[in-house]
Amino acid sequence: MLEPIGSALVTLLSGWHLLHMMIGVLVGMLVGVLPGLGSIAGMSLLLPFIYGMDPVSALAMLIGMLAVVPTGDTFTSILMGIPGSAASQATILDGFPMAKRGEAARALSAAFFSSMIGGVIGAAVLTVFVVVARPIILLFSSAELFMLTVLGLSMVGVLAGSSMLKGLLACGLGLLLGSVGAAPATGEWRMVMGIDYLVDAIPLAVMALGIFAIPEIVDLLRRNTAISETVELGRGWLRGIRDTIENRGIVLRCSGIGCVIGAMPGLGGSVADWLAYGHVVQLAKDKSQFGKGDVRGVLAPESANNSVAGGALIPTILFGIPGSGSTAIFLGGLILLGIQPGITMVETKLNLVYTIIWTLALANVVGAGLCFALSPAVARLTTIPYAYVAPFMLMVIFFAAYQATSHWGDILTLLAIGVVGIYMRRFGWPRPPLLIGFVLARGAETYLYQAVQFHGWTWILRPGVLILATITALSVWVGLRYGKSDIDEGGSSGAVRDRRPQLAFASAVLVASAYAVWDSVTQSYLARIFPLTVSVAVLLGVIGLLAVLLRRKQSRAVFDTETEPVAGRKSSEHYLLWMAGFLAASALFGFLIGLAAFFVVFLHVKARASIGRNTILTGSALLFLIAMSHVFTLDFPGGLLQATVDMPWPFR
């Protein structure tokens, strides 16, 4: 085993291989930093060059790209509160409050340093396990995978915030939203309301952008300051590295979590960051700062999401089954190179396998270094008045959401989910449980159904299931013992005089869950059982919540951040109307023209930009979009104009 490890390193360090890895790393940075783009876009950019390349160089380029995407995507998560990709959602919870507090530098350096360590640990685990992991992976059947989703759902207990009832309701809503579309067991359409778009389920990117980014953008616009409350960026670079070293236990454990989750085919990397985050909150003695800018909340998901890559490559190489979204892309790349992944690859091309592993480790180090170098400049964005930043952010998130399925449904769903997110934030409904429920819904249902089909109800007695059940019980017990955290990301509630707004929101949830109950009843048994159980639970829970809201004035459940009007501050609805206007213009004239109009008007009215500055900003935004669409061959949402008149590129 040692011989191929050494010779793989020699091969990698010789000739042009390193250069190719660097190209991969640069492309990975580019697509990682731009929200909505990820390894898929990176892959389509690299593929044309792969033809005719020797396999080692081509693999170095691909792995170099894949390895740094979860490092690069941290920028927008921490600095803007926008999830750069599905893998860095949990980073927002503490990273963004740190940036607001003026600690962007510290948060970024902690994130990059722990990412690097996570990535290297992932590569180390891959080195050892790629030879022996086969029987271990085969131990995890659908029953054990179902228990892993239960473990994930149990994290809701510690992330519920000030009201456990609202936390559980949010999780239930997430599970229901995750069940929209074709049922995994029978293919029946559930809760689609006659909308074709919903048959394929709501894309995770749209969900994450809607639930986190839109409420954040609206909130910052209302405050009308810069993101950072202090002008100083802080010299926290060394501090962040020190944080990582001081919390090495957390970094190591979360890297381990990332490897394990990554290695489970079908579970997906987006679960890993939440599990790691929940785990750290659970075990922390002092939970008071989570959600308000605790550096441990940055270290946990960042070390986990980079180690996922190492774990995810294990089933990819051993079984030819991707362990995550980005390894699915890598698998395609391997096949294009004429390499069929699977056990034969380990037996006959071990040298190549170790090239992959070395590249993974090396690319993580190089990627982290590159991010450090870029940080000071990028972090300055947090000191710009937000009225200038907001149109760019809106452009980016709507364009990013559209890349999910290239359908207008992506954009409308983003806005709809954004509205839900805004009110959840306002009325103290925690958003992380909603996303956890959403991410795990499909897995939980599919694996439960498969476990029952394969084993009957005896699946509960499988040893792996019992072990995971014990771990889950322990984790819940530990969480309860140390007390739950007080994650209230939406600021604090004033003395609530008018409870009608939150009653209205709870009633809307009531109507939605009643619809879900009604819809489930019409389905066949296998498609019905999961959404029916969840929707009945949500229905009963929300009735309980309404009773509390109606009867008692003093309760943790009574919560509203909007009690006193602040002079000169516009309402959330005011900015929602701005977005609606932007989308209406796009629907009429297409995205580019709609965007140009929105930029000009918004910058004039809200930022009071001079005509010169307005022109420059609008022009550069358009140029940026056009360049992106050209380089990555991406489409813009078309409007009525494009449907009637054949427009020239790029207005097509």
């Binding site: 085919p265 790349g333 096949i335």
Partner: protein, 365 residues
């Protein structure tokens, strides 16, 4: 007499003129210099169809006059129905839009899925990439090869399937004809199904050729799988013969005869044949949109012929393309016609069988 002659002459002149007018102004081959061709793939990136498209895109581009750029555009959704619908609605017949579908696009069309808004008959097939597949079972069931299929009767065998109306329908149909008790567990990808097989949860499974060679053959060598039969391929006469990728494995009809002493027949077998052709023999067709001029079609066919007859083509294509011959031009058209002409009686039988056996109605509700 003169007037008749002149009338005849006049008619002849008109005829000639009409013929001349009918010849397109541009008689040479189409030229694509500086153009970008959009290759729509109605699946997400990195799947089998996407890899196939990305493999062929640069090769075809190089052989087309003017060496255009071909970009692959993924339009996933609705099990490939969404992207195909979109292509049929929007693509112009100017040779700058091509479409690559798969067996998973053919099945919903054959089964009259209400979401389907494309008519396959309208599209012009210019290339067809076949693939194959083979069925294997767990050795603990006691079968050594196809002759022992009778021994499997009455034993419940779980099988991981993508869904009742997906490509994975074919092995369940095969089991139905053989009288085997195969219980599909839906919602599993082909890879996950193989993993369930390796765990011993599923006892019956199949894989398409490339996955079979790289991942199932090692299992067979280790004594963990018994291969039963391949789907077989169609020869020039339209008869099923052994798959060149598995020369030692009987094809389905052969296996049936080995087990039961007579060839398979009946409406279920007719349906099976149609779906094997539509799902495997004609698995990945490349189309030009309806109404594309003959010269553009010919230009493409010539370019693709050069691609697949290049001496290093098979080596470059590797295991993904395998031993199969790519059908180009008229051959592709012929095969596609066979694939799409399912006997209406057999079609009705399959639809009814899907509903009674799996409660599977097409198009959701």
């Amino acid at each position: 007499m003169f007037s008749t002659l002149s009338r005849r002459l006049g008619a002849a002149t008109l005829g000639v003129a009409a013929t001349v007018l009918m010849i397109p102004a541009d008689t040479g081959a189409a030229d694509f210099s500086g153009k970008t061709i959009e290759f729509t793939v109605p699946f997400g990136p990195a799947g089998g169809s996407d890899v196939w498209a990305r493999f062929f895109a640069p090769l075809i581009a190089e052989q087309l006059p003017g060496k255009p750029t071909i970009v692959v555009k993924n339009v996933p959704g609705g099990g490939s129905i969404t992207g195909t619908n979109q292509f049929v609605q929007r693509a112009k017949p100017d040779g700058l839009s091509i479409l690559g579908t798969s067996g998973s696009t053919q099945f919903p069309f054959l089964l009259d899925d209400p979401r389907v808004r494309y008519n396959y008959m309208d599209l012009i097939p210019i290339m067809l990439s076949p693939t194959g597949g083979a069925v294997y079972v767990n050795p603990s069931l006691g079968a050594k090869d196809a002759r022992d299929i009778g021994k499997l009767k009455g034993k419940e065998m779980k099988y991981g399937s993508q869904g009742p109306t997906s490509l994975d329908l074919v092995p369940v149909l095969a089991a139905e004809i053989l009288g085997l008790d195969v219980k599909p567990v839906f919602g599993m990808t082909r890879g996950e199904g193989r993993l369930a097989y390796e765990r011993g949860e599923a006892l019956y499974d199949y894989q398409t050729t490339s996955a079979y060679i790289s991942n199932v053959v090692p299992l067979i060598k280790a004594g963990k799988a018994v291969p039963l039969f391949s789907w077989g391929v169609l020869n020039d006469k339209g008869e099923f013969v052994r798959d060149p990728s598995f020369p030692d494995l009987p094809h389905f009809a052969e296996a049936y005869e080995m087990a039961y002493g007579k060839p398979p027949s009946g409406i279920a077998y007719n349906a099976f044949k149609s779906f094997v052709v539509a799902g495997f023999a004609a698995q990945k067709p490349l189309f030009l949109p309806k109404g594309t001029s003959k010269e553009i079609v010919d230009t493409y066919v010539a370019a693709i012929t050069r691609v697949v007859s290049a001496p290093d083509f098979k080596k470059r294509a590797g295991d993904e393309i395998g031993e199969y011959t790519q059908a180009v031009g008229p051959a592709a058209e012929k095969m596609m016609t066979v694939a799409l002409s399912v006997d209406p009686e057999a079609k009705a039988w399959v639809k009814n069988w899907l509903v009674t056996k799996f409660n599977a109605k097409l198009g959701g509700n």
